[in-house]
């Protein structure tokens, strides 16, 4: 997964991968590898969520004048 992807893109990617498990394309032989992949993606999203911080800037502008 690209480092540049936003959290929402990562979640969309994960949803897409998870769709496969419910689709007609599902193959038992590929399931283990694909499942490991989604677990890895979920862990990455979890880590991203932990690291999310807001950047708060109080403007220097004086609004009294």
């Amino acid at each position: 997964m690209s480092e540049n992807k936003t959290l929402n893109q990562k979640i969309e990617d994960l949803d897409e991968k998870i769709e496969w498990f419910y689709s007609d394309d599902f193959k038992l032989e590929e399931a283990t590898a694909k499942y490991k992949d989604v677990v890895k993606m979920a862990n990455e999203i979890d880590k991203d969520l932990d690291e999310l911080k807001n950047e708060i800037e109080v403007l220097a502008q004086d609004f009294t004048k």
């Binding site: 979640i11 994960l14 038992l28 989604v38 911080k53 807001n54 800037e57 609004f63 009294t64």
Partner: protein, 363 residues
């Protein structure tokens, strides 16, 4: 002594200078009386208590809340001696105070702005669902602001929040908030503006019923959400905003998704995918078992058929068994059958040699 002789104009100027120095900006609280608007431009009224009445003057555009006789207000301005020698208080700001007056002013202005269509529902815009740049207008020392930031940080991250620190109560608050709205509209790229103020008395929150502020909110190019006071507090600013949150915390909840819910959702999706794999394996196993059972049933049926055939044949063979026929009393005759020859007669339990005496046709 002669140096102290003034012309009337100089005297008025000197008095006004002194008044301006001593009372450059003072607040007077009292009841409105004799309210009138001249030529749609000039506002005259008296502000009075039980004993004294002070004549007030202001321009109509500075009047930011509807006034009526009997309303309690606070006015801010400077005393002045006019060129006609009359004393007047020049008002630059007026604010209704006391529950009754605030409510009255609120209802009058609400009706006026509603009639103008300022609060029409079809003018409301939807807030962006994925906010990455947010403008906040609040007092950074206020509890409501702290609540808003706390919930915002707990729920989500990655947002660039620009905070315009302004007063959120008092006679100066509306103008400061208006300047902040203008700043965000003209000098920033925020996707939404949140106007935040915690709970307070009707008087504390009355600045959010300022006509110019309400108009500035309605005119903002950037969508505005208000989180002012508590659930029960309704201001005209709330009605003009695109979205009204019930509290500052609720504003943060509306603006952001909850990362903990998202984390739970992601885990649940992965767990469900795992459960799906197990179900698919179970389904596959059942399918194989069904096939095995089907093959087994077919083999069993074939074997039963063969077994039945053999039993049928055995029965037939048994019917044809000579011993069984002999047992029924029949006999087998063997040997050449001609008069005088010896033939062998076999019965169930005997073998007999007999001579043929005579041969004739059966009738």
């Amino acid at each position: 002594m002669e140096n102290n002789i003034f012309t009337p104009t100089d005297f008025a100027f000197a008095v006004n200078q002194t008044l301006d120095y001593a009372y450059s900006s003072i607040l007077i609280s009292g009841e409105v009386a004799s309210f009138k608007v001249n030529q749609g431009k000039w506002v005259f009224f008296d502000i009075k208590d039980e004993e004294t009445s002070v004549p007030c003057f202001m321009s109509f555009y500075q009047l930011r809340a509807p006034l009526e006789d009997g309303m309690k207000v606070v006015v801010r301005g400077t005393p002045k001696l006019t060129k006609w020698g009359k004393f007047s208080f020049t008002v630059n700001a007026v604010k209704p105070v006391g529950e009754g007056s605030i409510k009255k002013a609120f209802e009058l202005l609400k009706k006026k702005l509603t009639d103008e269509g300022l609060f029409d529902f079809d003018k409301k815009r939807i807030l962006p669902s994925d906010i990455s740049r947010l403008g906040v207008i609040s007092s950074t020392q206020a509890a409501g602001y702290a609540d808003f930031i706390k919930i915002l940080n707990a729920r989500w991250g990655g947002i660039k929040v620009q905070v315009a620190h302004t007063q959120v109560q008092g006679i100066d608050a509306p103008d400061q908030i208006i300047r902040a709205i203008k700043y965000f509209n003209e000098h920033s790229e925020v996707q939404a503006i949140a106007i935040i103020r915690g709970g307070g008395s009707a008087d504390d929150l009355s600045c959010f019923n300022d006509e110019e502020l309400v108009r500035a909110i309605a005119a903002s190019k950037i969508p505005v959400i208000t989180g002012i006071g508590h659930e029960v507090d309704e201001s005209l600013a709330d009605l003009a905003a695109d979205v009204r949150a019930s509290t500052p915390s609720n504003a943060a909840e509306i603006l952001t998704p909850d990362k903990n819910s998202m984390r739970t959702g992601v885990k649940l999706s992965v767990t469900r995918a795992g459960t799906m794999v197990i179900s698919r394996i179970d389904a596959k196993r059942d399918e194989i078992l069904d096939k095995i059972n089907s093959i087994f049933r077919e083999i069993k049926m074939s074997l039963e058929k063969i077994h039945n055939d053999i039993r049928q044949k055995i029965k037939l063979i048994e019917v044809l068994n000579p011993e069984k026929v002999l047992k029924q009393g029949y006999a087998i005759l063997s040997g050449k059958v001609s008069p005088g020859s010896i033939v062998k007669i076999t019965t169930y339990d005997k073998e007999i040699n007999a001579e043929v005496k005579e041969i004739y046709e059966r009738k």
